[in-house]
């Protein structure tokens, strides 16, 4: 018999699963959560939504992307040859 679970971190449901998980739930609750997830609002750029345990969405700001400065060929060669600027 299939077993259904929800996996919670603090005030948020981070995932749902079958076969293995943290807190066993009914199939009906599993399918309801799945329906909520698949109908979540589309987040604006730079934001995401997290699902609270009361099945409401909380908009959260995503962390800034790490800087990934490109270097030019001269700088790359300098690094390869010893790291001098």
């Amino acid at each position: 018999m299939e077993k259904y679970y929800k996996n919670i971190d603090g005030e948020y449901i981070t995932s749902i699963s079958t076969g293995s998980g943290a807190e066993e739930i009914t199939q009906e609750e599993y399918e309801h959560i799945l329906s909520v997830v698949r109908n979540r609002p589309i987040p604006e750029a730079g934001y995401d939504y997290r699902l609270r345990t009361d099945l409401t969405w909380e908009q959260v700001a995503l962390p800034p992307e790490p800087d990934d400065p490109e270097i030019n060929d001269k700088e790359a060669l300098s690094i390869i040859l010893g790291g001098e600027d």
Binding site: S15, S17, L34, L51
Partner: protein, 154 residues
């Protein structure tokens, strides 16, 4: 070597292993006897996620792990690694470049160590408790996407 060539080679070997399991008299088909674990994130999730599940004591058996790479819609073909590990922290793993939308299966044979780095298994020197996990780095698991781990044990 291109990924595609590598992919075809690995798929052939993996399929051979799956066929081997299916050919076992008591198997009756991998899927029919499989335990299927699924995982669905509720928000876009980046990084490594582990489906950890104790399979119990498997003194002599095969474990089939199957998962589909859905994440390529976000970041292109992605490496996925599959891991089995026991309580002694011995680990068998497979790292694989999964094309967009591909379904990938691997069979872990606990009686054999494979020399190849991409197919592994435990030496079955005693009763072993397995865990199964699917890990993927460097891409996003979209909210609402579902990942399956199919486990068969003899």
């Amino acid at each position: 070597m291109s990924y595609n060539t590598d992919l075809q080679s690995k798929n052939a070997r993996i399929q051979a292993l799956i066929d081997k399991v299916n050919a076992l008299p008591e198997a009756g088909g991998v899927v029919a006897n499989a335990e299927i674990l699924t995982w669905t994130p509720t928000s876009d999730t980046k990084g490594t996620v582990t489906l950890h599940h104790s399979l119990g004591v498997v003194p002599d058996g095969y474990v089939v792990v199957q998962a589909q790479n859905y994440a390529d819609a976000v970041n292109g073909d992605s490496p996925i690694s599959y891991n089995l590990f026991d309580v002694g922290l011995r680990t068998a793993y497979s790292t694989y470049i999964a094309p967009c939308g591909s379904m990938y299966s691997i069979v872990f044979d606990p009686n054999t160590w494979y020399e190849s780095a991409d197919l592994g298994a435990f030496v079955s020197d005693s009763a072993i408790t397995f865990g199964a996990s699917i890990n993927a780095d460097h891409f996003v698991y979209p909210a609402g996407s579902t990942y399956n781990v199919l486990v068969y044990k003899r």
